[in-house]
């Protein structure tokens, strides 16, 4: 036996599982080989070191953690796992659930009129809220000139996008609605209160540098306009931007817009004989194709709103000067086809 062969048997020798024949041969070699005896001793010492290693101990609480981990899963969880874990089952069930929820939502929506109305209101909200604000703010709010200019530009854009026929139809419909007129009266009352508590608003003529005494006449005029607004005739088809703006007011909002809109021309007519002046005015209107829209009794005298064709306005103004002292407070250069005039007849 060689030293190599002898050392290959060291493990089985140390573990005492060496066969009798091999044991005899190894013993014979070791008796004659000091190196192998020394090597065997070092081998035994190495194994002795290994076997002297302190046994490992599981950490505290290990048994409890194992028992917890090995505890049987509760039956509901097992049932859920069995139902949902295999994806061939899970996916169709999830898809069916999504479809059911969707169908349920649609059914509830269709079966609930309130929801549908709310949805419609949501979709039309911007158009409904913006038009009245623009129409109402023009006559009553103390908006600054740049604000008015912006509102006018906005209205003009809206008019350009609206067919004239549709605007007229909307205007007639608005004029005929009693509910709308009631709303107008309420709103007008509010506006009147605001007007009374607010500092004197600046008129367009003041903005242009003219000094006028518009506020009292204006308040009366608007009060009268509000009461009569529902009976106002439909505005003719617009022929210019200004006309279109006038026609747009009732079409985009309600009759309140029309009643609150300022007249194209307003002013005071100081007369010595009021009855004679009223008769003369009636004849003048009949001759020139004008129409008296309404009449309100003011503090100083009657306030009359009338409509007169543009081509007859120059003659109308001239005749007014004959009836008395005509002092226009609003008389713009560009006039619409049908001019709305408000006269304050005073002594």
């Amino acid at each position: 036996m060689t030293c190599h062969d002898a050392r290959e048997l060291f493990s089985v020798l140390v573990d005492e599982v060496l066969g009798a024949d091999e044991r005899g041969a190894l013993d014979a070699h070791l008796e004659t080989c000091a190196d192998c005896r020394r090597e065997l001793q070092r081998f035994r010492d190495t194994v002795g070191l290994l076997r002297a290693v302190e046994p490992a101990r599981a950490p505290a609480g290990f048994v409890d953690r194992v028992l917890e981990a090995a505890r049987p899963t509760p039956w509901p969880r097992r049932w859920l796992r069995a139902l949902f874990l295999p994806w061939p089952l899970k996916l169709p069930i999830e898809a069916a659930a999504i479809v059911l929820v969707t169908v349920g939502v649609v059914y509830v929506f269709r079966a609930t009129p309130e929801l549908q109305r709310a949805a419609r209101l949501e979709s039309t909200k911007p158009a409904v809220t913006e038009a009245p604000r623009a129409a109402i703010s023009e006559p009553s709010s103390p908006a600054t000139p740049p604000d008015r200019a912006r509102e006018r530009q906005y209205m003009e854009k809206k008019i350009a996008a609206t067919p004239p026929a549709a605007r007229n139809e909307a205007e007639q419909r608005a004029a005929g609605l009693k509910d709308a007129s009631r709303d107008v009266d309420k709103r007008q009352d509010i506006d009147k209160q605001k007007e009374a508590s607010r500092p004197t608003p600046r008129t367009e003529s003041q903005v242009a540098g003219k000094k006028v005494e518009a506020p009292p006449a204006r308040a009366e005029r608007e009060a009268g306009a509000a009461k009569e607004s529902a009976r106002l005739p439909a505005a003719p088809a617009p022929e210019s931007r200004a006309d279109a703006l006038q026609a747009q007011r009732p079409a985009t909002g309600s009759t309140a817009a029309k009643s609150l809109a300022p007249p194209d021309v307003s002013g005071g007519l100081a007369v010595s004989d009021r009855d004679a002046a009223l008769r003369g005015l009636a004849q003048l209107l009949a001759r020139l194709g004008g129409v008296e829209n309404r009449r309100v009794d003011g503090h100083e005298g009657p306030i009359i709103e009338l409509t007169i064709p543009r081509e007859a306005y120059a003659e109308f103004a001239g005749e007014l000067a004959r009836l008395g002292r005509w002092q226009p407070t609003i008389e713009p250069a560009a006039l619409p086809a049908q001019i709305r005039v408000v006269l304050r007849i005073t002594r």
């Binding site: 290959e8 573990d15 081998f43 302190e54 490992a56 194992v66």
Partner: protein
Amino acid sequence: MEGRIGDDSHLVDRLRQGDPRAFEDLVIAYQHRVFGVALRMLGSQAEAEDLAQEVFVRVHGAVAGFRGDAKLSTWLYTIASRLCLNRLASSDRRMIREGEETLTRLASSHASPAAELERSELEAALHRAIAELPEERRIVVVLRDLEGLSYEEIAAVLELELGTVRSRLHRARMDLREKLERFLP
């Protein structure tokens, strides 16, 4: 050495009869041995505990089908050894087990801070030397010299020929003898 495991026939009977306390007794009886194999093989206390817990959970799930052909201890070591070798074979595990820190942690896993300071260089070198063995040799030397299994049991646990067990054990011991040369008398 084999006497450490003892006679498990009564415990096996209780397990097969569904005695609810039997599994707890099994865990109590084998927790340190299973944990020890995992710790020597993996080198990390946390990882060893995780693996040992997995061993017992698997045993719990399969104990009803345990036929008793092999000793209960052999069955447990078989599961533990396989799980250890599988985990070591994973690429993630290979990175973890490198380095001195892991070996030091292994060596001091049960020592107090004071005892840890007094730990002999020999003991640390021993654990380092074991940890540096190739896995197939390490598991054999752990099962034989640290856990005290016989050659036949090791062959059964690792499903190896007896000659392969002898050979791997001898190679492992020879490696350790060289690594521990300066500590030998």
